[in-house]
């Protein structure tokens, strides 16, 4: 090996890039700093009065806006966290917003306290219609700067706030002890005092997947249940379901999908969950055991899902599900070379059969994950695109 002088190398490396990759010569975004470009991670929720709330992230702040006219116009944004933080806001990590029966607006997000895979789960509440927020608090009691994120937020039937996330503390401890540990772990906590304090977090189960969003939904009994990707023996990336007990009862997480997809990878596609009035657990998930596929099914923990239906294959991603009475909606992104389509299928018999897939919106620019929302038994899709946020009403045929 002949060592070159640093000056020669500085000249050679750009030459190398040019020779190897003609692509760099094309005029796209160049070298300008685009760090202030807002990420697409956003969440929306309706309150009891039908007002739409939207949480986005910009310049280190979670911003909350509301709309009185189904997303056509929005209020000026309110900064939820007055002091800027590094906030996860892309891909499957996004800020969350939930509304409570007394009109409270709960917002939750993941801060990156130090560079690398670190996270603190943060929370703030407004009790004056979104005008002001409580000082943000960190809900995880463990202060270790380890991986946390892919969090989710739900309000239990009794008004408790439930927050769940993927946590790397056990993996970090195992690593420092020189022991193997697959994936991360699923932790959750809850607040019984309106979000002022949260209980010490409880580990539901070891060996969750590392980088897929978690899903929470409220059961008819008011308890909150979770559906998330795990890592099973042999690096199988199937999903688990569990009721998240907040009363000291033992938890019983059970495997709930059985695709047997084995991969040492980050799928970056977490599942969705909606629970009907009779307790039917409508779920959507991604796996790639035989090529990429997103699925609908009704969870029967410990057994394969019922009424399993492959929704999409190549280019289909990031599905969500909602239920009201016998109507079940599933929506997902379908990408092609030309751009993105938002696809919908509807069932009127509780998920036993679904109508044809139809395109309800499209975008030539990048899009975030769709989120199905309900308002007075009608459904909408919240879709954040690089062109701006859209609320798409689902019109029944």
């Amino acid at each position: 090996m002949t060592y070159q002088s640093p000056i020669a190398l500085r000249l050679l490396v750009p030459l190398l890039c040019l020779a190897l990759l003609p692509l760099i010569a094309s005029a796209h975004v160049g070298h300008m700093d685009m760090a202030d470009e807002p990420a697409l991670g956003a969440s929306a929720a309706f309150d009891a009065n039908g007002r739409l709330w939207l949480a986005t992230v910009r310049d280190g702040h979670v911003l909350l806006r509301h709309s009185e006219d189904l997303g056509r116009s929005f209020s000026q944004p309110v900064q939820v966290n007055p002091v800027a933080e590094t906030i996860y806001a892309s891909g499957e990590n996004r800020p969350k917003v939930a509304t409570g029966p007394a009109g409270q607006i709960d917002v939750q997000w993941t801060e990156q306290p130090t560079p690398g895979w670190t996270g603190y789960i943060r929370f703030a509440r407004s009790t004056d219609g979104g005008r002001h927020f409580s000082a943000p608090i960190t809900v995880n009691h463990d202060p270790a700067k380890v991986t946390r994120g892919f969090d989710s937020l739900a309000i239990a039937g009794n008004g408790d706030v439930v927050v769940a996330w993927i946590d790397g503390r056990d993996a970090a401890q195992a690593k420092s002890a020189g022991k193997p540990y697959a994936g991360f772990a699923f932790y959750y906590t809850w607040s019984t005092d309106g979000g002022e304090t949260f209980a010490p977090e409880r580990k539901l189960v070891d060996h969750s997947c590392e980088c897929c969003r978690t899903a929470l939904a409220r059961q008819p009994d008011g308890k909150v249940a979770a559906f998330f990707r795990g890592v099973y023996e042999g690096n199988i990336r199937d999903h688990a379901f569990a009721v998240l007990h907040t009363d000291g009862q033992a938890n019983h997480p059970e495997r709930a999908t059985f695709s047997n997809w084995r991969v040492a990878a980050c799928p970056d596609q977490g599942p969705g969950l909606a629970i009907g009035a009779h307790g039917v657990r409508h779920a959507v998930w991604f796996e790639a055991s035989h090529g990429p596929a997103i699925w609908y099914g009704q969870l029967d923990p410990g057994h394969a899902p019922r009424h399993a239906l492959k929704l999409g294959g190549a280019g289909a991603s990031h599905a969500d599900v909602a239920v009201a009475g016998k109507t079940v909606w599933v929506a997902w992104n379908q990408v092609s070379a030309k751009g993105y389509s938002l696809i919908l299928r509807v069932s009127h018999d509780g998920g036993a059969h679904f109508g044809e897939a139809r395109t309800i919106a499209s975008s030539k620019l990048a899009v975030g994950s769709p989120q199905l929302l309900e308002r007075a038994d009608a459904a909408y899709v919240a879709w954040n695109t690089a062109d701006g946020f859209r609320l798409i009403a689902i019109k029944e045929r």
Partner: protein, 155 residues
């Protein structure tokens, strides 16, 4: 001659260049060039992201493979994160010792479209390793490569 020089330069750059990684934009219109068969040997495209915990060991394993076969392997890393995050991407590549390998990041805020253009039969799971040979044949593998898989893609 120029191509030979290029490959030689790659060797030098991969093994001796100590500066920060330069991240170039990869847009939909650039995918065809990225996937063009190399004139000799094979091009290994290593797709990764900031969120991916399996990606750094995978790129380091591929760098080691490239180092062992400098005349026959071109290694390119492609972050599926938006190039808006170029500072974080460069810092991660530097920390992984990947200085000097050509590095790109997506121009779009969500990766699905460029993922689809690169490989429609890929769900976006990372790492994704794509090997392209002179005859245009490709091998695409998801996940951290096993020793057996590394042996399979060795030229």
């Amino acid at each position: 001659m120029r191509r030979l020089l290029t490959i030689l330069l790659l060797t030098v750059a991969a093994t001796a260049f100590a500066g920060a990684s330069a991240i170039e934009p990869l847009g939909p219109g650039d995918v065809a060039a990225l996937l063009k068969p190399p004139a000799r040997g094979e091009r290994i495209i290593m797709l990764w992201s900031l969120d991916c915990v399996y990606c750094e060991p995978n790129m380091q394993a591929l760098a080691k493979l490239q180092h062992a076969h400098p005349r026959h392997i071109q290694l390119v890393t492609v972050a599926t994160d938006s190039i808006a995050q170029r500072t974080r991407i460069a810092a991660r590549l530097d920390a992984a010792g990947m200085q000097g390998y050509p590095a790109c990041a997506y121009t779009e805020l969500s990766p699905a479209r460029i993922n689809f253009l690169i490989d429609p039969n890929w769900g976006g799971e990372l790492p994704r390793t794509i090997v392209i040979r002179t005859d245009g044949s490709r091998t695409a593998l998801s996940g951290e490569l096993t020793d057996k898989q590394l042996a399979q893609i060795t030229p």
